[in-house]
Amino acid sequence: MLQQGSIPQHKGKAMQSKLITALDRRRFLQAAAAAGLSAPLAGGGAWAQSKDPLKIGVTMPLTGSQAGYGNDFVIGMRQSLKDLNDAGGVAGRPLELIVLDTQAEPPLGINAMNKLINVDKAPVILTAWSAVVKAQAPTANREKVLLLNTGANAPEIAHLGDFVYTLFPLADVDITALAKYTYEKLGKRKAAVLYINNDTGIDAAKIYKDIFEKAGGQVVAYEAYDPKATEFSGMLLKVRAANPDMVHVHGLITDVPMVIAQMRQLGLQQRISSYSAGYNQKLIDQLGPAAEDFIVTSLAPGVNDNPKVTEFLERWKKEQNRAPNGLPYIQYQYDSVLVAAQLYKHVLEKKQEPTGETMREALLAVKEFDSPMTGKTVIDGHRVNKPVFLLNVEKGQFKPLAKLD
C-alpha cells in the first residue's frame, strides 16, 4: 500500500522515484482487483461467507544445498500473497501460505506434504524440485489433493497422475528449443552432453540428445556425473578426445561453474550451453571471462520484455537489498500464487467447498490464468507451453540472444 506519510519530504528526486514506484504498485494492485479476485461473491455458502484464510500449502527447500533458490521462491510467493491480500484477497477472504521445508529431499517432501494434507488441510500444494515432485505425486493422487509444480522441469512430471499438474514448462520445452537452435542457428554439428546424475539431468540430457540427433547433429560424448562430484577432469578429457563443437552442461549452480572452470583449465574452448539453472550472476562472478559466450535458457520474459518484471525486480532489491537467485523461476512463483487464488475464486463462486477435487476441477475449467510475470498460463493437459528466451553472457552480463516460440 502507498504510505505517503512515510516518504521524507526533503529527498527530492529520490522521493519522486519512490512515489512513482509506489504508484506503479498501486496500479498493479488495481489490476489484481480488476481481475476480480477480491470481488465479494453474490450469495454463497458457508465456505464463501467464512472469513478464515484460504490455505495454500508450499513445500520448498528452505535449508540444504538448494535453499538459496528455495528461500527466494518463497519470498516471491509471499510478495504475490501480499499483493493479493492488499487487494482484498479472494471473495473478501485473505490467503495464507503454509510453507514447509523439503531440503529438496524426497522423504522430507513427503513428510511435508502429509502434514499439509492431514494437519493444515490445504487443498492445493505448490512444490518444486523434480525428485520431490515425483515422490509427492502418489500421495497427491491417493489423498486427492491438487499438487502444482512451480519450478521442477523433469518431463516425467507430465505423467504423474490426475492430481499433479505443472505451471512451469517442463524440460522438453526449453531443452528442445535449445537443441534445435544449437543445430539450426548456431550451426553446431557435434555436441557433448554432460549431465548431473539426478532426475533433472537424466531426462533433460536424453531430450537434448534425441532432439539434436533428430535435427541431424551427432552427440559425440554423453557423460553423467555424480551430484556430489567436485573433480571432473577424467570426464572432461573424454570430451576433449571426442572433439565436439558445442558442450551442453545440464547441472545445478553448485556444480556447473566447477565443470566449466575445469573445462577451460584443460584447454576446452568450445561454446557451452545450459538451462535456466545456469541463469545466475554468481556463475559469471565465479568464472569471469571463462563464462563469455555461455548460453542459458529462461522460461520467463526478462526486464526488457515485460515492464512488470522491472517493477518486480526493483521492489525485490529494495526489500531484500540484493538480486534474486534465479529471477525467471521466481517470476513463476509469483504467478503460481495468483493461479491458486484464481482456483479458489472459481470454487467459491461455484459455492463449493475447496477440496483437492474441486480445485482440480477448477483448474481444468478455467484453463487460462492471468500470469503477469510470465505471460498467460494455459493448462494443456499436464503441461504448459511458454516462449523460451535464450541469453548469452557478454562482457560479464546475461544479454538476450533469441526468443523461441
Binding site: G64, D226, E231, G234, L237, R264, Q286, L287
Partner: protein, 314 residues
C-alpha cells in the same frame, strides 16, 4: 583415451586433487592414532575453518594471510575446546567408545546447523572467481591451484614427519599413541598430547578447506562428504598409520580419476563406498604393507611400550 598425454593429465590432476583428501586424512588419522577416537567432529571444524576464512576475506576484506590465520585459530580453538569441555569429560567418566562416536557426530551436526544459521546454505567460494591460471607443461595443463595443492600437502606432510620424528613434543604424541597410561607414568601428559594433536589436525583441516574453497563452492554440509573420504583412507591405510593413510588417500583419488576410463563418471563416488565396504569386511585393520626396517631407534627417554614408528603405529 589411451593417449599417454591423457593418462598423464589424469594422473597429474588426480594427484593434485588428492591433496585435499591427503590433508584431511592426516588430520583424521593422526587424531585417531593419538587419541584412539574416530573424531567426526572434524567435519564441524572443517566448516568453522572455511567460514572463518570466508568471513575474513569477503566481509572484512582482509588479506589471505589474515584469513588463513583466522581459519587456523578458529578451527584449533574449536578442536581444543572440544577436547577440554567434551572429550576429557567423557574420558573421566570412562564412557564407552559408542558414546565418543555419538558425541563427535552430534557436535559436527550442531556446528553445521550453527553455520547454516549464520552463513546460509548457498555454496560459497573463498574468492569470487574459481578460475586459476593454467600453463601447459609437456602437453599437460597445470594450474596454479594444482601447484598450490601439491606444494601445500607436501610441505605439511614433511613438517609433520619431522615434528613427530625429531621434536620432543612430537615423540610425546607417539608415546601417548602407543600407550597413554604408560606414557603418563613417564611424566608425559596425555591431555597435553591430545590438545597438541587437536591443534595440528586443525592446521591440516584449515589448509584443506582453503584448497577446497578456492576450487569450488562449499556449503555447511560439504564437510561430511570430505570426512567420509578421510575415514575411508584412514581405514585403508590402517588405523594409526598416518602416512600410509595419506598414501591411501592419493591412491583412492587416482583410482577415482582413472576409473573414468572404464566406467561412467557417475559411478566415481560409488567407488569410495565400495572401497569402504571391502576394507571393513576384508581388511578391518587396513592393508598391510611390508614393514620397513626402522633406521634408528627412537629416543629411549620418550619411547614407551612398543618401539615408536610414526608410520606404523599400534
Amino acid at each position: 583415451m589411451t593417449d599417454p598425454l591423457v593418462l598423464l593429465q589424469i594422473l597429474w590432476t588426480g594427484a593434485a586433487t588428492s591433496a585435499i583428501f591427503v590433508l584431511l586424512t592426516v588430520a583424521f588419522s593422526l587424531t585417531q592414532k593419538v587419541t584412539g577416537l574416530w573424531n567426526f567432529a572434524q567435519a564441524g571444524f572443517m566448516g568453522i575453518a572455511f567460514y572463518a576464512m570466508f568471513y575474513v576475506l569477503n566481509d572484512l576484506q582482509m588479506p589471505l594471510i589474515a584469513a588463513l590465520a583466522a581459519g587456523a585459530v578458529c578451527a584449533a580453538l574449536a578442536a581444543v575446546l572440544t577436547e577440554v569441555i567434551g572429550l576429557d569429560v567423557l574420558r573421566a567418566r570412562k564412557s564407552g567408545s559408542l558414546m565418543f562416536f555419538i558425541f563427535t557426530l552430534i557436535l559436527a551436526q550442531f556446528i553445521i546447523y550453527m553455520l547454516t544459521l549464520v552463513f546460509g546454505t548457498e555454496p560459497q567460494t573463498l574468492y569470487k572467481s574459481i578460475m586459476s591460471p593454467v600453463r601447459i607443461v609437456g602437453g599437460i595443463a597445470v594450474s596454479n591451484w594444482d601447484l598450490t595443492a601439491v606444494a601445500t600437502a607436501a610441505t605439511m606432510l614433511t613438517l609433520l614427519f619431522f615434528f613427530l620424528k625429531t621434536t620432543k613434543e612430537g615423540q610425546f604424541l607417539v608415546a601417548v599413541s602407543d600407550n597413554a597410561k604408560l606414557a603418563e607414568l613417564y611424566g608425559i601428559s596425555a591431555k597435553r598430547a591430545y590438545r597438541v594433536t587437536a591443534v595440528i589436525a586443525a592446521l591440516f583441516i584449515c589448509a584443506a578447506m582453503y584448497l577446497t574453497g578456492t576450487r569450488g563452492g562449499v556449503t555447511p554440509n560439504s564437510p561430511f562428504e570430505l570426512v567420509l573420504a578421510a575415514t575411508i583412507a584412514t581405514l585403508l591405510g590402517g588405523m594409526g598409520r598416518v602416512f600410509i593413510g595419506a598414501m591411501a588417500a592419493v591412491i583412492l583419488a587416482l583410482i577415482q580419476s582413472f576409473s573414468v576410463l572404464v566406467i561412467s563418471s557417475r559411478w566415481q563416488n560409488l567407488l569410495l563406498y565400495g572401497f569402504l565396504f571391502v576394507t571393513i569386511t576384508l581388511f578391518p585393520r587396513g592393508i598391510n604393507l611390508p614393514r620397513l626396517k626402522p633406521k634408528a631407534a627412537a629416543s629411549p627417554s620418550v619411547t614407551v611400550g612398543k618401539p615408536a614408528d610414526v608410520t606404523q603405529g599400534s
